[in-house]
């Protein structure tokens, strides 16, 4: 497992994307477009965590990203301690439901981009699990 911990600041997202992208390239048999899908989904999850910390009055607190590579899949978990998932703040909707809103596309995007997405309330925050399955298992 590879664990990244970074301050909840948007200027770290590029680094997180680069790391997850590199690991995914070397992991299961994913084509480059699907690697990019996973990278985008992880970036959205991290951006939500950063927003959540800001809303919770803890800007710059730690976001944790765990990447687990198996033979036939890659699972990325994004964990924050920002007080919990607020349904009213980010309700999953169809990706095109609000095309003119500048935020809020994140959750539906994550759902569409990955093979599995799970959002769980943890003790003090939220954990988002994003899974991509390798080409071998999809056949």
């Amino acid at each position: 497992m590879i664990r990244l911990e970074f301050p909840a600041r948007t200027d770290y997202l590029s680094v997180v994307r680069a790391v997850v992208g590199n690991v995914a390239h070397h992991g299961p048999d994913l084509d480059p477009l699907r690697v990019n899908d996973l990278v985008l989904a992880v970036s959205e999850a991290c951006a939500n965590a950063i927003d959540a910390y800001r809303d919770d009055g803890q800007p710059g607190a730690t976001v944790e990203v765990d990447v687990r590579v198996a033979d036939d899949s890659i699972a990325v978990e994004v964990v924050d301690q920002a007080g919990g998932f607020k349904l009213g703040r980010a309700r999953p909707t169809a990706p095109t439901a609000h095309p003119h809103r500048e935020r809020g596309l994140g959750l539906p995007l994550m759902q569409v981009l990955t093979d599995e997405m799970e959002v769980a309330a943890t003790d003090g925050g939220t954990a988002v699990r994003l899974v991509m399955v390798g080409a071998g298992r999809r056949r």
């Binding site: 200027d11 997202l13 477009l33 990019n36 985008l40 990706p95 596309l105």
Partner: protein, 118 residues
């Protein structure tokens, strides 16, 4: 580390924004500001050339939608140049392919912003 380049040029009366790098929650405000400035200067035909863009997230898409609304409110038009599969896929899954004029060449995009507004 996050890098976004936005260069402005002019072609056949259309303002061309050549964007390079990553458009995400950190950098999208710069793109938004550039569009606000251009529209403020009276530019209502805008092309966003994304051939040098490596990544776009939902905030970046939001900035493009905001730019489109802004120019249309002024009676103008905005078109995008994009052939990169990873970006086109994001436009497709969000349904934004039906919202934007997306072209394969700069020439076609510039022509699209001139149609009906000349």
């Amino acid at each position: 580390v996050v890098d976004l380049g936005v260069e402005v040029s002019k072609q056949d009366g259309t303002a061309v924004l050549t964007v390079t790098g990553e458009i995400d929650i950190a950098t999208a405000p710069r793109l938004r500001e550039q569009v606000v400035t251009l529209v403020g200067q009276g530019e209502t035909r805008i092309v966003v050339d994304m051939e040098g863009v490596d990544f776009i997230d939902s905030t970046g898409l939001g900035a493009l939608v905001g730019a489109l609304k802004r120019v249309r409110t002024q009676g103008g038009e905005l078109a995008i140049v994009c052939t990169r599969p990873r970006l086109l896929k994001v436009f497709e899954i969000t349904g934004l392919v039906r919202v934007f004029e997306i072209h394969e060449t700069l020439g076609a995009a510039v022509a699209a912003t001139s149609r009906g507004t000349a």
